[in-house]
């Protein structure tokens, strides 16, 4: 337990206990170092600031305190660093409590497990609304004119035409539904009934079965209106519940210190009644249960506000005559029923994730993005290849040529993984064709899982979602991805190879989220001081350099040659550079003494933005000198070089941003009130490495602070200007420390 304290102690150049008012501050003072003079003027329009030249750090005027570090770590974990909280922990640390203990404490925060971690692991997959799980064409409308209200999907009917139905949301009641919107006997659309040519089973509960994409009005809401939603409000509520299932399941795994892989391989999830109803309606669809009341017992009724309320006396009995226990309104951790062995695989088969991308190949790409942090980009498809491969026109919705794609040169780099991968999910067809599991489509045999390409088989397993999840989470790619999420969130591009190794070792040793996060936060505390020490100087202002013609080839200087040979030649020894589709299929040969200028331009672009070297990303400390070398090779004029350096080293990136909802929460706490206004923010869907402070982030957080502070002021809480200053402090916005003034 003393290890963390010792580590923190080692990085202190000053002594403990510098008195500052009544609080003992533990001052982290950076050693002064010589450096070039710095420009105080920020860049102006039409001018750019050249980057620091990397020679030596500037004098570190700033000192920072334990209090600031305590606050920064708390904010990262989603805890509000109130003055009282910070003061208490500073006192404890001064009194000998270890940093480890502090980190353990913050990692127990419910906001950490319920908000921070889900956004970190799933990004848009948990924070952005799903379109396909609940086809919007199945939201009912209601007549308002004569007679009793009638529910309808397509067009209203007369009172006499309306059919009486016990709706799932209140089985004890009766509502009228237009006949075309009911159709309790209809489960699928037969090929002779619709005008699609596909022989694929098309289920009534899908987008294609809904009024949105039907070719004829064949399907209705089904028995007890099971595949329909009462109104828009209920539709919104169910969508929120689907997102919450992923969040709360993640929270359960984190809070119970279960291995992270459980999140993807376990059967149980934490869900409310809305989601439980969704699973039961999937089962009803799969088994075509004509009388589903018993299946729905104990879940409702749902009040008019769409929130489920505890069932009243007289709730329908289950099949065995017993009245099941009511589903807790707040949800519960509970297993899911498998209609075939291996049907479920953690949150991979939770509707929010399962139906987030409809096409099976797209869905699989999403799984790899979440599990292995790969497949965010997909390059290399050429028009000729696609035209040659696809004789029938069926390459996406119906996957006629999947095996050919998986085995074709270049295509195999993605499609071996994708197309063999989605064979594990055969029971879940395209979400636009069905939203329920179809046991008859699930294979009973085994199949391979591939990594890099068709030559990189990783093992075989049962062709079920569970079989996939077991294989995928056993791969090093999974552990690396989970470690990377944490490293990226806490350390960002400051993470060194040593940090990465330490975090990965924690993942290997424990497999639990808190343990991995703890190591990262310990490293964050270390980096805190380094950040103060290493702050580079902003550079003098330069103008844009004029465009000038350059020679078509570039002679590679010796220093760059060394780096190219060390980092690139393993792959880049195949074919001479060419500017055609066919040539681009190969890794260009970097060995010649002189290389085409266009190739070297591409080289600086890929290295600077981290897409190369491909399989072994360079840490920032190694990448930047290499980028400088390539820039110096390409551009000799100082102004042109400065312009290029600003772009490739600065990348127009602001400081790493807090998760947007964390920042909004912190602003509300600082202002003592929230604005009460919703924010539809793109930032909610970002992966951590994309999350930097942008003008958009500043605008949203600034406006939230303004409205929250206005409310606070109007209620007599604070002065407006002081509140704004508090709410917009750098620590609220930035994950990374900003040196103290």
């Amino acid at each position: 337990m003393r290890r963390g304290l010792r580590r923190l102690g080692l990085m202190l150049t000053g002594a403990l206990a510098v008195a500052a008012g009544s609080i003992q501050l533990w001052e982290l003072r950076a050693a002064a170092a010589p450096g070039p003079p710095v420009a105080a003027t920020p860049p102006a329009d039409g001018q750019v600031a050249a980057p620091a030249d990397g020679r030596a750090p500037p004098p570190a005027a700033a000192a920072t305190t334990t209090a600031e570090l305590v606050a920064a770590i708390a904010t990262l974990a989603g805890i509000v660093p109130t003055p009282t909280f910070v003061a208490e922990w500073v006192a404890k640390l001064d009194g000998g409590t270890t940093v480890d203990a502090y980190i353990d404490e913050v990692l127990r925060s419910p906001r950490f497990s319920r908000e921070i971690v889900p956004s970190m692991l799933f990004g848009a997959f948990v924070n952005v609304r799903n379109y396909y799980a609940l086809p919007s064409g199945f939201v009912l409308r209601r007549t308002t004119g004569d007679g009793a209200p009638r529910y309808f999907l397509r067009a209203p009917c007369t009172d006499a035409e309306g059919v009486n139905v016990h709706p799932w949301w209140d089985l004890a009641s009766e509502v009228k539904v237009c006949p075309d919107s009911y159709r309790p006997e209809k489960w699928t659309m037969e090929t002779i009934e619709h005008t699609y040519r596909s022989r694929m089973p098309l289920s009534c509960d899908s987008q294609v079965g809904s009024p949105e994409l039907e070719t004829r009005p064949l399907c209705g809401c089904g028995p007890n209106l099971i595949r329909c939603l009462r109104d828009e409000q209920q539709y919104e509520q169910f969508n929120r519940s689907l997102m919450d299932e992923v969040k709360l399941t993640t929270a359960y795994v984190v809070e119970h210190d279960l291995p992270i892989k459980e999140l993807f391989t376990g059967n149980a999830t934490f869900r409310d009644r809305n989601v439980e109803l969704y699973y039961r309606r999937q089962k009803i669809g799969a088994l075509r249960t004509a009388q589903p009341e018993a299946e729905l017992a104990a879940l409702g009724p749902w009040s008019a506000s769409s929130e489920p309320v505890p069932p009243a006396d007289g709730a329908p009995a289950g099949a065995d005559g017993a009245v099941p226990a009511p589903w807790p309104a707040a949800g519960q951790w509970a297993p899911r029923e498998d209609l075939a062995p291996g049907q479920h695989a953690g949150v991979l088969t939770a509707p929010q994730v399962l139906h987030w991308l409809p096409d099976q190949r797209q869905r699989q790409r999403g799984y790899y993005e979440v599990l292995w942090c790969t497949m965010r980009n997909s390059f290399g498809a050429t028009t000729k290849k696609i035209l040659d491969l696809n004789a029938t026109g069926n390459i996406a919705f119906v996957h006629d040529s999947w095996e050919r794609l998986a085995h074709t040169e270049i295509c195999t780099n993605c499609h071996a993984r994708l197309d063999y991968g989605f064979q594990f999910f055969g029971g879940y067809p395209d979400s636009r064709a069905s939203t329920h599991f179809n046991p008859s489509l699930q294979s009973s045999s085994t199949g391979p899982l591939y990594g890099r390409d068709i030559d990189d088989e990783r093992g075989t397993g049962p062709l079920t979602p569970q079989g996939f999840a077991q294989l995928a989470t056993a791969q090093p790619d999974f552990a690396a991805c989970m470690s990377n999420h944490v490293a990226e969130y806490v350390l960002g591009d400051r993470a060194t190879p040593d940090d990465a190794r330490a975090i990965a070792a924690a993942m290997d040793a424990t497999g639990t989220f808190k343990a991995v996060m703890k190591v990262a936060l310990e490293r964050y505390a270390e980096r805190w001081r380094a950040a103060v020490q290493q702050a580079p100087a902003p550079a003098p202002l330069v103008s844009y350099a004029p465009v000038r013609a350059e020679a078509p080839t570039v002679t590679i200087p010796a220093a760059l040659r060394v780096e190219i040979d060390r980092l690139c030649i393993d792959c880049h020894d195949e074919a001479p550079y060419g500017d055609t589709d066919e040539a681009r299929d190969h890794a260009f040969d970097f060995r010649p003494v002189a290389l085409p200028r266009a190739l070297v331009v591409s080289m600086v672009d890929h290295v600077a933005f981290g897409t190369m070297p491909k399989d072994d990303p360079l840490p920032l400390l190694e990448r930047e000198p290499l980028v400088r070398l390539i820039i110096a090779t390409l551009w000799t004029a100082p102004a042109a070089r400065a312009e290029a350096e600003l772009y490739y080293l600065g990348k127009r990136r602001g400081l790493p941003a807090q998760q947007i909802d964390n920042a909004l929460f912190m602003i509300g706490e600082a202002a003592t009130r929230t604005s009460g206004l919703p924010w539809g923010a793109l930032e909610r869907g970002l992966w951590t490495d994309q999350s930097t402070i942008t003008p958009g982030f500043i605008a949203v957080t600034g406006l939230e602070a303004m409205f929250a502070c206005a409310r606070s002021r109007d209620l007599g809480g604070t002065t407006f200007d002081a509140c704004l200053d508090r709410a917009l402090s750098p620590g609220t916005l930035s994950r990374w420390p900003v040196t103290s003034p």
Partner: protein, 419 residues
Amino acid sequence: MRSRRDVLKVALSTGGWLAAAALGCHKRRATQVAAPPRYWVMILLSGGHDTLYTTDPKTAAEVDSIVTLPADNRSVTVGDLRLGAQFAGLSKWASKLSTLNGVQVHTANHDTGQKQFLHLKTNIGDNMPSALDIIAARREGQPLGVTYLNLSARVMHSPAYFGTADRFYFGEGDVFSRVSDAQPGELAALAKAMRTQATALGRAGATMQAAQTAVYMRETAEFFERVSSIPPLVPEQRSVDYVAQSMSETLERTLWLIENDLTCGVVLDLGLLGWDTHIRNESKQVEMNGNFASYFDDFMAELHARKNGHGVLGERTVVVVGSELGRFPRQNDMLGKDHLPQTSFLFSGPGIRAGRTFGVTGPRMEGLPIDYRDGHPAAAGRVPLLDDVGATLLRLGGLDPERYGYAGRACEFLLDRTS
């Protein structure tokens, strides 16, 4: 047959124009030639428009049997510009539009394609500044660099992002609606607080990231200060259909931003992937392209009618319309069309040679090589690549594309050398 003199003339005039642009000669020459672009608008027809309906109509005689043609297969030709049935309504703008067909994008994946669209470059990574971010960095006077409107996917986020996300996916509440509800005095106080923060962040010793954050804070503060004195936009209700209405509103918002000189660039994500017609291509392409053409027609009319202190908007605004990928030419079993890593673009504005259809496609709709000097078909030429469009736009913006990683070949044929 082109003479050597013709080639030289092209080279000299293009080079001269580019050199002038790069040397910042726009202002001095403003009385003699068209003013350089001040605003840049990129419109994404999200999902992938079927070029047979829009910019590359074909007759049955021109294509192989695998190509499924539109039911309404008429085309409109005005001069050298040929448009499909769904874009026929845009023919009135023929003197201001050009199209480029057969552009290779090297991906059949929406996410990658949408990212590439923003960068006008293939094989890109996350976190790169977009093409307009790069161009807008040298803007003159507008507080915002680029405003991104109605984005439906996180992949289109940029390090310089400012804008709105689609409210169906991301929820209600965006910066423009909130600003319109704010008190001017409170916005001014917010701007002041931001400037104070920016000063602290950008002081001596700050990292590049902190300095960049300070720049963004000042830009945003300036936006708040300016917008507090501008009447808010009240969008017109044009359709009860969510996607169509958001298309119309987003184009209106673009005009409002430009007219009030609030931004240099605007990126619009239209259609919520509505052009991704794997199911029922015919009806969806007709609907999406029809709606777009109607609203875009209005947009062009307003662009050429409205003025601000920098002139008629249409004379200062470059407009680029395209998709992240295209549609496979043959209909699938769901009566839809799957993906093709090829698309087309529509261009308008100062510096663009208007009134022409550039780029040719073959009987299977495959892009064919063209001569990069005049845009005519040429066996020894080059099939247009997305990177070439990016290099062209950066050149039009007076920048050296190479310095920003654009190794494509500029489409000289697209540039109006008389500007």
